[in-house]
């Protein structure tokens, strides 16, 4: 009984509750918004969450990076991100090249008024039927970590306007080990 009260007060959670909390759109770490013809879904990955996702790898201590996944899909259900609004094969190859490499330069985190560039970028290309594509991103950690950060996507593919998405990192529970 005391243990339960203690756990509740220290805000620790078991694995499934923790994953549910982190992925819940209400808690500020998982945000979905429409941007022009696309839907952008951003998930901040706290260290415990990342460890749960990649448990086969040794847990890193004092990781100097902050990790996110960004998933983008066209609003039209049957169109793939790579093929959407594409006229010919040359344009398709350009789009593929853009998302494989150059898109990294159009991403940054704004924290405490400072822009942090994307230093780790991975374009996931699973063989599946989904029309969305996911990018695993890492940005440097700010020396004075803030509760509120903003992911800025300044991609011509998504439209002329930058896509700003605020992530609120307050009250993140700890994972009970």
């Amino acid at each position: 009984m005391l243990w339960v009260i203690g756990a509740a007060c220290s805000n620790t959670m078991d694995e499934s509750s923790f994953v549910q909390w982190v992925t819940d759109y209400e808690n500020g770490l998982h945000v979905r918004r429409e941007a022009g013809d696309y839907i952008v879904d951003v998930q901040y990955m706290p260290e415990d969450f990342k460890w749960l996702q990649y448990r086969d790898q040794p847990r890193q201590q004092d990781d100097q990076l902050q990790y996110y996944t960004v998933t983008i899909q066209p609003k039209i259900d049957d169109m793939d991100l790579i093929d959407f609004n594409i006229q010919n094969e040359a344009e398709r190859q350009q789009r593929l090249y853009y998302f494989s490499y150059s898109f990294q330069n159009d991403l940054m985190i704004e924290e405490n008024g400072q822009a942090l560039p994307c230093v780790l970028y991975h374009f996931e290309r699973p063989a599946d039927m989904k029309n969305s594509r996911t990018f695993l991103l890492a940005f440097e950690k700010h020396p004075q970590a803030s509760q509120d950060v903003r992911l800025v996507i300044n991609s011509r593919v998504l439209g002329s306007l930058p896509v700003n998405i605020k992530i609120n990192k307050s009250n993140i529970p700890a994972l009970a080990l």
Partner: protein, 158 residues
């Protein structure tokens, strides 16, 4: 006896009147209108893209200015290059301006739909100044509310 029947009739009529009013009010729904021009002008994204367009225009103007001395020397070739570039830049600026305007309206329309759903509106009209909405009481003008909402969304708020 007659007095009791009279009182009952009065209460019945009053109840029907209230129910009727509520039903009518519910059927009419929640309405509001925005002045499109105000929303467009005050949208933070528009101000940002306006700056971006101005930057491109300045870059083009500087490039043309640097060519002007060559044009002044009067060779036919340099004049042709200058004219070609000037036309090219003007076309680029027009295309960019049209693209920016389209993207700004796409975002505004999208966010007004989200605003309407979140705030429980049944109708939000757009007053364009060309007669699509001839009159609306100021009490129904939600332009500023919509501007605040759209700008908060633009800045990345939930």
């Amino acid at each position: 006896m007659n007095k009791i029947i009279g009182t009952l009739c009065f209460f019945l009529a009053a109840t029907m009147a209230v129910v009727g009013y509520l039903l009518l009010k519910n059927k009419q729904g929640k309405h509001g209108y925005v002045v499109n021009e105000i929303v467009f002008e005050k949208f933070a994204g528009k101000i940002k893209l306006e700056d971006a367009l101005r930057e491109v225009e300045t870059k083009h103007r500087n490039a043309l200015d640097s060519l002007e001395s060559a044009v002044a020397s009067g060779t036919t070739e340099s004049v042709a290059v200058y004219q070609h570039l000037r036309e090219q830049y003007a076309q680029d600026e027009q295309r960019l301006s049209a693209q920016y305007t389209e993207d700004i309206w796409k975002e505004i329309n999208q966010q007004i739909v989200a605003f309407g759903k979140e705030q429980g509106y049944d109708f939000i009209y757009g007053a364009t100044g060309n007669g699509s909405l001839m009159y609306g009481s100021e009490a129904f003008d939600i332009s500023e509310e919509v501007v605040d909402y759209i700008n908060a969304k633009y800045e990345g708020e939930k």
